[in-house]
């Protein structure tokens, strides 16, 4: 048994992504049509050319009919998948494996979410009947526990960690301000961010991802067919996925300063992609900054820096747009917004723009020489019980 991956067997030949935000004037159908049409146009294919579809959505509806109905698909295999906030990434995995296996020639992965019809702020999962003993804590509160834990483990004051978190938010706001598709396009200073009232632990609303509506899509084919559709495909270097078993919540050894699922997932992804030094081999990374302390921990779990040093690297600007390894150049969940099922594909959309030199000038990163790979990291769940997805995409075939 082994995780072999599909390195250089699959290519992305078209992508689409709606603006993310409070689309009170658009339903899921409109968002799905907009994102799929953009991807089909960029691949130069028609709806009917797609052999199979996967739709990732956490809570916007059920079954493949959610997609086949608005797109008027006839006789097509359409599957809805769900894996918490990694549902969009999950749809991509299914589509990629489908073409890699030879079962289909051209497949489409769609991620979409309509959150703003619920009447409540934040994301609210549909209630499943339970015995009533399950935790009722919000995600913000669960992730807020990282702040004091990280401070304690590395001998920092909580205020220092808060400032690091504010730096992360300021960076992602700055990047998002340069992104016309982002939900929040306003720059925020560290001082402004630190002055916000707390909503969960030490976190303010501005430490949390934006919650909005949106959709993103990718068209995938076997790598050898890629140039039939585009001159500049992206090649899949790694697709890695790990579902934890919830042990962290009840394991007294777990200290809320790392996500073991992500460490395992990264190890697998780097092995598949042949990456040994991610910080210097990757051109950029899109990571799941659902909350600012999440991004802090991810820098270490993804191997971008040594354990216990991410806070210093953040302060040193390592992950800024002009830094050594730009992280979330599109603004991340923080500024781009987080329509749950769409986020995993939205991250790939940024890799699609950046590695092809199509990102707006204000946020375009330097993709130089052999350093033409991007990592996207999409997680779902909470510290101690999460699913983790990582893709590595590259502009050059193997």
């Amino acid at each position: 048994m082994a995780s072999h991956g599909v390195r250089d067997k699959v290519a992305i030949v078209g992508m689409g992504c709606t603006r993310f935000g409070e689309h009170f004037d658009k339903g899921l159908d409109e968002l799905l049509l907009e994102a799929t049409d953009e991807a089909l146009a960029s691949a130069g294919v028609a709806r009917d050319d797609v052999d199979a579809f996967w739709l990732g959505t956490a809570q916007s509806g059920m079954s493949g009919l959610l997609l086949s109905r608005p797109l008027h698909l006839v006789g097509k295999p359409v599957t809805r998948v769900e894996n918490f906030c990694a549902s969009g990434a999950e749809s991509f995995r299914q589509a990629a494996y489908a073409v890699a296996s030879g079962a289909y020639d051209l497949a489409m992965a769609v991620g979409a979410e309509k959150l703003k019809d619920s009447g409540y702020q934040g994301a609210n999962a549909a209630p499943v009947p339970t015995d009533g003993t399950n935790r009722t804590l919000t995600a913000a509160a669960m992730y807020s526990m990282i702040v004091p834990a990280y401070a304690a483990r590395y001998g920092l004051r909580v205020e220092q960690v808060k400032e690091v978190c504010a730096r992360i938010a300021a960076k992602n706001h700055r990047n998002g301000a340069r992104n016309p598709r982002a939900q929040f396009r306003k720059e925020m200073s560290v001082e402004q961010l630190l002055a916000m009232p707390k909503v969960a632990g030490e976190l303010s609303v501005f430490d949390c991802a934006g919650v909005g509506d949106g959709a993103a899509t990718a068209v995938v084919v076997r790598a050898e067919d890629a140039h039939r559709y585009t001159d500049r495909p992206l090649f899949v270097k790694a697709l890695s996925f790990v579902a934890g078993n919830g042990d962290g919540l009840t394991d007294p050894g777990y200290d809320y300063t790392t996500f073991p699922e992500i460490v395992q997932c990264a190890e697998d992804a780097y092995a598949q992609a042949g990456i040994t030094d991610p910080r210097h081999q990757l051109a950029m990374a899109e990571v799941h900054d659902c909350f600012t302390p999440t991004e802090l921990v991810l820098m270490e779990d993804l191997g971008f820096c040594e354990r216990g040093t991410a806070w210093k690297e953040v302060l040193a600007g390592t992950f800024e747009l002009e830094g050594e390894l730009p992280v979330n150049p599109d603004g991340g969940l923080k500024s781009f917004g987080h329509p749950v099922g769409a986020s995993g594909l939205r991250m790939m959309f940024e890799a699609w723009l950046q590695l092809r030199g199509e990102a707006p000038e204000g946020r375009r990163i330097a993709v130089v020489g052999s350093r033409d790979m991007a990592l996207t990291h999409n997680l779902g769940g909470y510290p101690g019980e999460m699913v983790s997805f990582i893709s590595v995409l590259g502009a050059s075939p193997g």
Partner: protein, 469 residues
Amino acid sequence: MSDPSGRPRGILAAAGYLPYRRLDLGTIGAVAGGGGGKGWRTVASYDEDATTMGVEAARLALREVPGVVPDTVRFATVAPPYLDRTNATAIHAALRLPRSSAAYDDLGSVRSAMGALRAAMAEPGGSLVVAADVRTGLAGGPDEAAFGDGAAAVVVGDAAGAPVLAEPLSWASVTEEFVDRWRAPGEIRSRLWEERFGELRYGPLGAEALASALKQAGLTVEEVDHLVVTGTHARAVRSVAARSGVAPERLAGDLGASVGNTGAAHPFLLLASVLERAQPDQVVVLLVLADGAEAVVLRTTPALCGRAPARPLCSQLAAGAPVPYGKYLSWRGVLPVEPPRRPEPARTSSPAAARSTEWKFGFVGSEDADGAIHLPPSPLDPLAHPMAEAVGTVTTFTVDRLSYSPSPPTVFAVVDFEGGGRLPLELTDVDAESVAIGDLVEMTFRRLSTADGIHNYFWKARPVRGGGS
């Protein structure tokens, strides 16, 4: 009184439970435009009801007599969380009593508690009698200030599992039908007839019951060491005590200025209090004025000497903390306050709850072959691991101002238990500002929420505060 075994039968343990929160009666007038007064009353938290407080009192009582497994649980309250279905079954489940133990409610009146105790003394086997009340009245009214919330539990049995602390010598009951205090079902307030009417009725009733019980026991009032008088009519209680012939220094206090009258729980609460300070071989009389009068005469035994109550009432009295009057009103549902804008909890699934009774009500985790503890229990583990009495430490915590709670904010802590096991748990009876990493916590049975009339009972953690183990 003795049971067929011939062993003496009597009270094996008694314990009171006082909720953590206290209302300063002096703060009522400014809001309600009058009422209140001097002193304090106990206040059940927003997550407590008669059942949860009853569980807490029963845990304390049973902790004193670990060898006793009650054959019967009787639960008396004026404020039952459920009608039509039994409330005592939740207590039975939380205490993890055997399936073969019976559980019965005695509902609706203060007097029902005495009926439950009398039945327990008359039936064979071990009996646990629990009484609890959340006592409400209209804002600014005399009942609001005179009442308190709390619970008490008495374990009755023969000396097989534990020594008898007090043996009943006699019981006298006088019943009379007259309406001086009443409450329509569903109302949060009681109504009262003119005070003098009840006082004049109860005077002779109390005297008659006391005289009758003492006569049956072959005792005189001079031989009474502790006279406890309580009931539904405060003035009648005072005058019956004053005219009883028992010397004033032998009249037990009524906890009126610190707890308030806890309704059905009050007779047991005062009895538990007396048994905490009584000496061996003393005569204790409990006289309850409620729709007639009930008098029971008890004689304490030498076993009182070696007794160590799990959590004496005096220490619980000292451990309380104030609750603002506005919050008190909102907890009782009298003052609706804006809830967090989050979906309210869905109702608990009855089949799912029924499948996990040991976890949900008993707080029983599991232990794997390597001794690791799992909370909730893992179906892969071979051993059950009861955790309700375990003490834990706050490893980290957070204050959640976003999640739905009947009384925000929610304080959640990751708790590591002594002897193994970790669980993220909601904290209760805390102020968010005062929680710290390293705090010791213990488990308490609470009502998390109510939806569609179904109460969601489960355990929370609360700080360990003085007052014994």
